[in-house]
Homo-oligomer: 312 residues x 2
């Protein structure tokens, strides 16, 4: 059955049925708006849009995968502020011949990813449109702490990373060449493993700046450097090259550091901490902050590619 055949309200009913428990909401789907607890007296909010053919392909990812990716990208932004995600809202625009089951599975994926952090999908909108487009807004709670912004890095701070980089880029490269294995990278691309807990842990440990690594480590750390008016140096020897990644990179003729330093979509969290900080679990030091500008790798300008421009 297509979404045109189900009609707007039939489709909404089927989607809501797949959202599962919305216990994080004081008022869930079904009214003009949802009501979500904001116990801190402030709410953190971020929105991201995924467009078919640009951010995902239906022949590369299942609907549930796309749900996980869309939710993960947004929940990671909340985590990168040091906040705990509470809720998602989803605006879906889809061709009228889209199968209802695809929309249902998308909703299932969104709800499953949100449930990983105790959040839920509390509202949304659906519309017909020629291009399958999914805009997600995530909300979160700061639990009484200041948000961890991009402007606070100080010379002398360490740069630390939670989560992995290069895995989704490897998966993307593999899929782009028409392969489906190694599955470990393809799966990393389809459903990023976001280190959500590291976000609030970093805030509690006194992180001075933090960012979600969505466009590539060099580019995203570059935002911290620019906004904090500091230089940041990344040390290559702090990155362990997984044996499978070395093999995959070799097979595709790619420098694995390109994936790890410039590949996006893993949604790792990069944060700076004062030098004497006991880093929270999951974080590894990968560099340092100094007076100056820009991001270097082993004190030199990176000659490989950098990150992602959504209009390139």
């Amino acid at each position: 059955m297509s979404i045109a055949e189900s009609g707007e309200f039939g489709l909404i009913g089927r989607i809501v049925a797949r959202l599962g428990d919305a216990s994080s909401a004081l008022l869930g789907p079904g009214d003009d708006a949802a009501v979500v607890a904001a116990p801190d007296g402030r709410v953190v909010a971020s929105t991201d849009v995924l467009v078919e053919g640009r951010h995902f392909r239906r022949d590369w990812c299942s609907a549930a995968d796309v749900g996980h990716r869309a939710a993960g990208a947004n929940l990671a932004d909340i985590a990168a502020m040091g906040a705990a995600p509470t809720a998602l809202l989803v605006a879906l625009s889809a061709p009228t011949d889209l199968e209802v089951s695809w929309a249902e599975d998308l909703a299932g994926g969104l709800a499953e990813e949100a449930a990983l952090v105790g959040a839920s999908v509390v509202g949304g909108d659906v519309s017909a449109g020629p291009t399958l487009t999914i805009a997600v807004t995530a909300l979160g709670d700061l639990r009484g702490r200041a948000p961890v912004v991009r402007t606070g890095a100080q010379p002398g701070d360490v740069l630390a990373l939670a989560g992995r980089t290069g895995w989704a880029a490897a998966g993307y490269a593999i899929l782009s060449r028409g392969f489906r294995t190694p599955k470990v990278f393809v799966e990393a691309y389809r459903r990023p493993l976001v280190p959500y807990e590291a976000g609030t842990a970093a805030a509690a440990a006194g992180a001075t700046a933090m960012i979600d690594v969505s466009d590539g480590l060099l580019q995203d750390v570059g935002h911290i450097a620019e906004d904090s008016v500091v230089g940041i140096d990344i040390r290559k020897d702090t990155f362990e090259i997984h044996a499978q990644m070395r093999d995959a990179a070799g097979a595709l003729g790619v420098d694995p550091y390109l994936w790890m330093l410039a590949g996006g979509d893993d949604h790792a969290l990069a944060a700076t901490f004062p030098p004497d900080t006991a880093l929270p679990p999951g974080f590894t030091v990968i560099g340092s902050v100094h007076e100056g500008t820009g991001v270097t790798v082993d004190r030199m300008a990176w000659q490989g590619g950098t990150g992602w421009d959504h209009f390139r």
Copy 2:
């Protein structure tokens, strides 16, 4: 200059420059997420997506008009909960050949409409995509009151309306026939006049149910009837037919009641109140709630068309 030429970060910079004062935000655009005050300890949130060719046409509306419409549709949902809007987030997907000035003017329209209620655009996302699509999320604050939901209408309540209905539908009909006048209706379609203050006023006055009339009065009041498990009767004689609307309807061979009872996009607010309520300014009684089901007009089934299905 196209948005491809400006690049992602160039475009974001130009958009943010047009957003004006973001004083409603504790932290505005430029980080992973925004931070918005939620003094009530709860946040009201709603999202709506507008797709070119379905919700707007660039030859019918300026970019600023589309901004006003997109913001208005979302802010009206917040008002319909009895909440005061605080912030908007905007996800824009656009063809790479879109003029940067169009995106800038869209941002200006969004910001201007938000400013009407003291809110601002606090965050967003931009992406290339083949179809111009604008997803807006609005946030609001309940100011210590319970949300006004759709389930609370009681037999004996009055049904009251704030704002106008049929004006945007008349404008749409006029534009559809290739005309550009009467300007009063075309303008109503381009920039709905949303009775924002009526939302919080209705909540303070004890409204038992409320809804944003976006898809047509009969359809939207039908949601209150269904969710509250009541019948609702609307009295035609409570609607004054404006002389210009009578003329326009006559010229186009349309029953003006069709516009007023089934036309969407004006974003009036329909609310039910206990019978002895002193109605807040702006509300007029247009019907009553009784035991039963469904919506009738003068106690009879409406034979004209009903509202809008986003997949029809």
